[in-house]
């Protein structure tokens, strides 16, 4: 009798240690501290917090974060960065400023990938004006190669509203996964609201 109990206890402990992904059903949802409301057409998995994640952030994935990842950042105030970082780290992602120009916002996203994803090759594909969460914003398309040498594509859609940053980003392997996730991502971004 003791042995089965031990196995159950060990399994429970291991389960408690494992990262906890939770299912996100294909239904309207409030994300990133309930700051952005989106309507996914497919089911996703909400990822546990990662080492660089900030309080205003939420991440979803369909097939695992290495293959596809949707990032929501909602209500980031002026003076905060889009990544957690030590104040004295040699390399730092610039903090968000409400007065940032489009080129500043694009550079902030690029620097994030160069520093946090270890991207040594990063190419901007396009920057277009869009409306996001009811505010004028931009859509930034890019490709990059991170430390695992996998070529990825990315799309970041962001806007500054009430001096706060609202952002959705899709990053996925350039082969298959980015294009597959892009349909639902684009629909969510188009209908996102505060």
């Amino acid at each position: 009798m003791t042995r089965p109990l031990t196995i159950v206890a060990l399994c429970t402990m291991l389960t408690a240690c494992a990262p906890s992904y939770t299912l996100v059903t294909a239904a309207p949802a409030a994300v990133a501290r309930n700051s952005i409301k989106v309507s996914p057409a497919t089911a996703w998995n909400k990822a546990p917090k990662g080492p660089f994640d900030i309080a205003w952030e939420e991440n979803w994935t369909a097939n695992g974060a290495l293959l596809d990842r949707v990032t929501f950042i909602g209500g980031l105030p002026d003076g905060q960065a889009i990544a957690r970082q030590r104040p004295k780290a040699d390399r730092q992602v610039p903090v968000f400023r409400a007065t940032m120009s489009p080129q500043d916002l694009v550079a902030m996203v690029e620097t994030y990938h160069r520093i946090k994803d270890g991207a040594t090759v990063f190419e901007a594909q396009g920057v277009e004006p869009v409306t996001f969460v009811g505010a004028p914003g931009l859509r930034f398309d890019y490709t990059y190669i991170g430390t695992d040498e996998v070529k990825r594509r990315g799309r970041t859609i962001l806007a500054v509203s009430g001096s706060k940053l609202y952002m959705m980003a899709l990053d996925g392997a350039a082969i298959h996964y980015f294009d597959t996730a892009l349909v639902d991502f684009s629909a969510m971004a188009a209908s996102a609201r505060l």
């Binding site: 040699d90 610039p94 120009s101 489009p102 500043d104 520093i115 090759v121 190669i145």
Partner: protein
Amino acid sequence: MTVSRRGMIAGGLCGCAFGTRAAARIAPGAMLPLVDAGYRPTDADERGMWRDCDRAEEELAASNLLVDAPALHAYVSGIIHNLLGERAAGSRLYLVHEPTFNASMAPNGMMVVHSGLLVRVRTEAQCAAVLGHEAGHFCRKHNIAGFRNRVHRQSAMAFVAVGSNVMAGATAMAGGNGRSWIDLANNVNNGLFASMFAFDRSQESEADAYGLRLLAEAGYSPDAAAAVWQQLIEERQASAAARSKHYRARASAFDTHPPDAVRMADLSLSAREIAPVPSPRRDGRDEFRRAVAPLRAMLLDELVKQNDPGASLYLINAHATDGWDGTLRFYEGEAYRLRDAPGDGATAARAFAAAVVFDDAPPVAWRAHGYALLKGGHGEDGRRALARYLDLDPHATDAAMVRFALNQ
């Protein structure tokens, strides 16, 4: 042992340029090369290491991190040939996108050079000094020697650990305290562990000295090595200062990446030993500048986008000792823009304004100048600068966004 492609790019296996602290100075003339033209591995250990390196090289050759620059590749290969002569026939060069200052040479002849090295050196002689150091590891067969050293010491450590436990057990059975055997074994093994690092440092000293010899034999000034080293120390000091940190030239028994003023002094001493009176030798400043010119903006971009402002601004100012131009001024502004400390916006704006005065200013300098003017409340001038950007690069990836800003 295993060899990975990422390890190669990181310079982990094959000794990295100035990677570990050098030990006592070794006279450049005191060593003979252990590798000649057409050298092949001689025993099972070495053949195994070559096979691992060959496999890693196959993957590296297909990596999407390789720099696509045939002319620059040919130029750097020429430097390797200058250093190694006929032995260079067995070497293959791989330029990789990696913004750190490093290079490595594997025992099978695979030379990996980081883009971060190319942005930090300013003359052919300085580039040759780093490649010569790596070629020194290659010529003195340091990889196989290091592998054997680690195996022997780890075997000794295992023997000491097992022996001490046996003796501790026997002592305990005899009614004594076996703990002293364990303490003795720990002390011996700590010494053996530290000696592995000492061996690495000794190899670094050899590579320094042999590299200087190769540098001088190729007709370059041996003083170039100390110049590179001095610049690296100053860059790291600037990086630390910019983040309000203390720069520490570490010197413990377990150091793996310490820049070291003592080592720079040794390089200078060895240079004087090779060339007692500094004489005019090949510097290759203009040749290097011409070879790197087509990639210069990309190299500076990789550097500045790391947002390590102390290092970036130090290196930009070092390049500027050869004269400012539009590209350098633009990236100076970018470094301040990304740093975003109080007053940096205005400093960046001045740098962008200075950049666009030069004929060689990249189109993006006009964009940066335009946005800086808009932020400063100079709407008309800002829009004019943005329009100039679109004139120069009408198909820019962000042209639609800039047109939108112009219409606001």
